[in-house]
């Protein structure tokens, strides 16, 4: 319900104990350091910065470089452990960079070879494309046509020149087939791109090529040509693939060293990061930061032990200390929610981090969000599909981005919520497979309500949503009172629109509205009741202006009293009243969307059933089309309605609930630890 209580440490240790203390601070990983320069003190000027032995930026750069080698292999370096901290050794950044350059060069060599092979493949594919263009009609006429891009030659070379010809023709995209072998000559069939004629002719001349006539029989060799080309391309592709594998394997071989190097760099980076918050005097080191109060004794023990007792530790509690730098607003916020609430904590932090010491609404958000979602999307079958999709997401995003993990978990929760409300309303993929545990939502929407149920029309459903909204707003007001009580803001607690008077008017108004509904809008409660319920608190609300004025004057921050001052109070009062009446009314009515979307959900399903019935024909059994319509309908409803319900539930929480009490001015607690991400 509340975030963790924090405490601030101000510590002084001897210069030569600094490294040991740093290691302990990192091992414990509970300190969120603050820059000593933020503390105003007379000795500020006498302190110097502690410059780390190596540049933090350079370490981070090399570390990222290593990640660049590892992540494409699917290797994500693990965060360092205590053992890595114990084995910490200074890093030689130049040397590490050279090692990485060597790996990069190795990779570059493989890439060069890959590029050469790829160009060969492209050349042969170009040739193949040209040959293919002629289809089965590769006739003499076509080949010799001016629009043909290929040249076919038949001839013979002396057997001694054959190898030379083969080797030299490799530089040109070509196919060279042996048709017939004689004792001292090879009869050959050659095909190449017309644009390479000059180069090819020179090679042929060197090989002593003797031209022969291109016979019909030879032209029919086309399948062999394409086969030969395909074979060549396949060989090159295999070679290419093996080079790709080689590059991967080569990186794989380095991965262990790279991992080790990464861990060393990370440990050093964190070590120097901690020390970057230290300040140095002639013989001492000073540091300061926030930690959860529950960790105070264990950290103190570790620091004292590391410094062999030669240290000075001063603790400041934000609630008690009046010093400027320890004021609550500076204390970071640490959530104390169990793991299963992580998706809902994500929803809260997405809106803002609660102010230190105020209510953390996460557990309540779980309840309110799921209730709203369930009411808008009530179906056991569709909920089960959502839950399965969420489970798949959890599996798919395992070890990847935390936000996606949390969204997947949220979908699972929403799925379960839909299943529960689906069972309450008796909806199973839009069908009534089981009797509803509460009331028949589908029956009400399709005008066949169960008359025995006490909820049997749309107005009853809308009333549920309104009462639900009143409950949520009520809790919002209650949380606001708790926050104001903790912060000792008594004037706001009583006289604010979110305070006791605001709530008095709100609930008074609800009573009056309910009374009118009971008497079918024909009668209001007595004027005395109205005065006590709404009139009196509305008049008392006027006192807020004068109270604030006096309070500020006492603190010396207020303005002078003039003739305009009472008028200003009056204006503020009128605006405040308008805000109370219009604001609370619209906030409450806004919850009608819960019922509205629930009705839309049921209506959509009913429409798909009607369509399916039309496809199936009068009195006929289910056919393929009707089944397809139902499946598509369910998919659409799950996709569209699911998203809408999720967004609307979030909107109601953010704008109708959070605005009553939440001040998102907090700062998240981010200690420097071995698990730190940045």
């Amino acid at each position: 319900m509340f975030t963790a209580r924090m405490i601030k440490l101000f510590a002084v240790v001897l210069d030569h104990d600094a490294d040991k203390v740093t290691e302990e601070l990192l091992r414990e990983g509970v300190m969120q350091f603050i820059n000593i320069t933020e503390i105003e003190h007379e000795w500020q000027g006498r302190l110097n910065d502690v410059s780390p032995q190596v540049s933090l930026a350079k370490i981070a750069m090399i570390r990222k470089r290593i990640e660049g080698f590892l992540t494409p292999l699917g290797i994500y370096p693990k965060t360092p452990g205590e053992i890595d901290l114990e084995n910490r050794r200074p890093v030689d950044l130049e040397e590490e960079n050279k090692n990485l350059d060597r790996i990069a060069d190795e990779l570059q060599e493989i890439r060069k070879r890959q590029r050469t092979i790829q160009q060969e493949i492209l050349k042969l594919e170009g040739l193949s494309r040209q040959i293919e263009m002629y289809g089965p009609g590769l006739t003499e006429t076509v080949v010799s046509s001016r629009y043909s891009f290929i040249t076919i030659r038949v001839g013979k070379v002396h057997k001694d020149n054959y190898q030379r010809l083969t080797d030299e023709m490799k530089d040109i995209p070509s196919v060279l087939l042996t048709i017939h072998k004689e004792e001292d000559a090879h009869h050959l069939f050659l095909i190449f791109m017309k644009r390479d004629t000059e180069r090819a002719q020179k090679i042929l001349d060197r090989a002593g090529w003797a031209e022969a006539e291109l016979s019909r029989k030879l032209i029919s060799l086309k399948p062999d040509i394409t086969l030969n080309l395909d074979e060549k391309i396949k060989q090159l592709q295999e070679e290419q693939e093996s080079l790709r594998r080689k590059a991967k394997e080569s990186m794989g071989l380095h991965s262990r060293d790279l991992n080790r190097m990464w861990v060393q760099l990370r440990v050093n980076e964190l070590f120097y990061k901690v020390q970057s918050y230290f300040k140095r005097s002639s013989r001492t080191m000073i540091f300061s930061g926030w930690l959860p109060a529950s960790k105070q004794s264990s950290l103190a023990e570790k620091i004292i032990h590391a410094a062999s007792g030669r240290c000075f530790l001063e603790w400041h509690e934000p609630e008690k200390d009046t010093a400027l730098e320890v004021k609550e607003k500076n204390a970071p916020v640490k959530f104390r929610n169990p793991e299963f609430l992580a998706p809902f904590q994500m929803l809260v932090t997405n809106f803002g981090v609660p102010e230190y010491g105020t209510v953390d609404p996460t557990p309540f958000v779980m309840f309110s969000y799921l209730m709203m979602f369930g009411l808008m999307f009530a179906d056991v079958g569709q909920g089960a599909v959502l839950a399965l999709a969420g489970l798949f997401g959890m599996f798919f995003f395992k070890g990847k981005k935390e936000a996606w993990q949390n969204i997947s978990k949220l979908i699972v929760w929403c799925g379960f919520s839909s299943m529960v409300t689906g069972a309450l309303f008796g909806s199973y993929f839009g069908m009534a497979w089981c009797k509803p545990l509460w009331f028949d939502f589908h029956g009400i929407i399709s005008s066949h309500p169960n008359k025995q149920s006490y909820i049997n029309d749309i107005f009853d459903i809308l009333s549920i949503a309104i009462y639900f909204g009143i409950g949520i707003i009520g809790f919002g007001l209650l949380f606001n009172w708790i926050n104001l009580f903790i912060k000792r803001r008594w004037i706001d607690l009583v006289l604010d629109k979110g305070g006791v008077l605001g709530a008095w008017i709100y609930f008074g108004g609800i009573y009056i509205a309910r009374y009118m509904i009971m008497y079918e809008y024909r009668q209001l409660p007595g004027s005395g009741v109205i005065f006590w319920l709404v009139g009196l608190p509305a008049l008392l609300l006027y006192a807020k202006g004068p109270f604030n004025f006096v309070h500020k004057r006492k603190k010396g921050t207020g303005k002078e009293f003039t003739l305009m001052t009472p008028l200003n109070f009056g204006m503020e009062w009128i605006v405040e009243l308008l805000e109370v009446f219009a604001g609370y009314l619209s906030n409450t009515l806004s919850f009608m969307r819960v019922a509205g979307l629930g009705i839309a959900h049921v209506s959509l399903m009913l429409s798909f059933f009607e369509l399916a019935r039309m496809a199936q024909g009068q009195g006929a059994a289910f056919n393929l089309w009707s089944l397809l319509i139902l499946i598509t309908g369910n998919i659409l409803v799950i996709g569209l309605e699911g998203l809408t319900a999720g967004v609307q539930a979030l909107r109601l929480n953010y704008y109708e609930f959070f605005t009553k009490f939440f001040r998102g001015s907090g700062e998240v607690y981010l200690p420097v630890s071995l698990k730190s991400r940045d």
């Binding site: 470089r65 660049g68 494409p72 990069a104 890439r111 040109i172 790709r244």
Partner: protein, 355 residues
């Protein structure tokens, strides 16, 4: 008649979302700092450019990746065609012509290198885009042609045939494709401006302004080249200039060519039309940047300024569509420049200087 809101609400919201996802300067900086091409490509793995890394790992061939990038860039336009219609669709098609003209230019250059300059084009021919954009451009036929007449015949069904036919004699006489390429560019901009003229008043204003700035960029670029590499008379230069520039009218371009001081003219324009950019320019001048680079930067800043003006203005105009294409093009140019620099092991400082 479709209202601007109905016409642009969806597509412009979509494009604005895409604009917000353009690669950050931080990523580009990391790529510049990378020690090798492999390491620079890894940085792109979490971006829409992951394909570059995948292709490079598979083939070691950056050019193949670039070809894929070009296809992706063309697909941006084709993808958006689904959401627009009427005059806006015509404008997007007119913009696509640029890619087709580039494709044609590449093929003709290869023909020219092979046939006229007698150079080997084996490798270069592998990376020419062969996919259809608007018309059927028989790339292989052009590359393998014996003369420009043959190319013109092969392009019979396209508007480019007449342009090639008209310029073929000059190309052979001067031994350069420069004037043919300028003629193709003229065709592109003329077509683009005339398509933009047909838009509604508000769209026309935005479109002509952006196109005008691009024409300025092109004209300045040519003037620099005319001055440095070709000995052309002022009359000849003026016939080659593309009309429709936004900041640089014929008078200023004439002055730029004769005075040999383009930077001064651009500074004048900035002082009067873009006072917000003056500080940036004075700081760049102090860095003793080369004139060419400085001019490039000034023009790019002007373009970015125009885009920012459109993005912060009325949201339902064609300006958002044009801004998106330009921003995406700038992004792709930067990525390609960095990757090529990494391949050729160019130092970080030099890359930063050029970008």
């Amino acid at each position: 008649m479709t209202t601007p809101i109905r016409k642009y609400a969806f597509i412009n919201a979509k494009l604005r979302a895409r604009i917000s996802k353009l690669i950050s300067e931080n990523i580009l900086q990391q790529m510049i700092n990378a020690h090798s091409l492999d390491e620079a490509l890894v940085i792109l793995r979490d971006t829409p450019y992951r394909i570059l890394d995948d292709i490079y790992r598979k083939t070691g061939d950056l050019k193949l990746g670039e070809l894929e990038l070009l296809k992706g860039e063309i697909n941006l336009y084709i993808d958006i065609e689904k959401y627009i219609h009427g005059d806006t669709l015509d404008l997007v098609r007119a913009l696509l012509t640029l890619y087709e003209i580039d494709k044609l230019k590449n093929a003709v250059r290869l023909f020219f290198d092979r046939k006229i300059r007698k150079r080997t084009i084996d490798t270069a021919a592998l990376y020419v885009l062969r996919d259809k954009i608007l018309y059927d451009i028989p790339v292989d036929q052009i590359i393998n042609a014996d003369n420009l007449e043959e190319i013109s015949r092969a392009l019979e069904t396209t508007p480019y045939s007449a342009i090639i036919e008209k310029n073929s004699e000059t190309v052979i006489r001067k031994g350069s494709l420069f004037l043919l390429e300028i003629a193709l560019d003229h065709f592109y901009y003329k077509n683009l401006v005339s398509t933009a003229q047909k838009l509604s008043d508000r769209d026309k204003k935005d479109a002509l302004r952006i196109i005008g700035v691009e024409i300025d960029l092109q004209n300045i670029n040519w003037i620099l080249r005319f001055r440095r590499f070709y000995d052309l008379s002022l009359e000849e230069v003026l016939t080659l200039i593309i009309p429709g520039g936004y900041n640089l009218g014929i008078g200023l371009l004439e002055e730029a060519y004769t005075s040999q001081n383009i930077t001064r003219i651009l500074h004048g324009i900035i002082k009067t039309n873009y006072p917000g950019l003056s500080t940036l320019l004075s700081s760049q001048q102090a860095e003793s940047t080369s004139e060419l680079l400085l001019i490039d930067r000034i023009l790019e800043r002007i373009m970015i300024h125009e885009i920012q003006r459109i993005l912060s203005g009325y949201p339902f105009t064609v300006g958002i569509v044009l801004s998106y294409f330009i921003l995406k093009k700038i992004e792709i140019i930067k990525i390609k420049a960095i990757l090529n620099a990494k391949q050729y092991k160019i130092s970080e400082d030099r890359i930063k200087g050029v970008l």
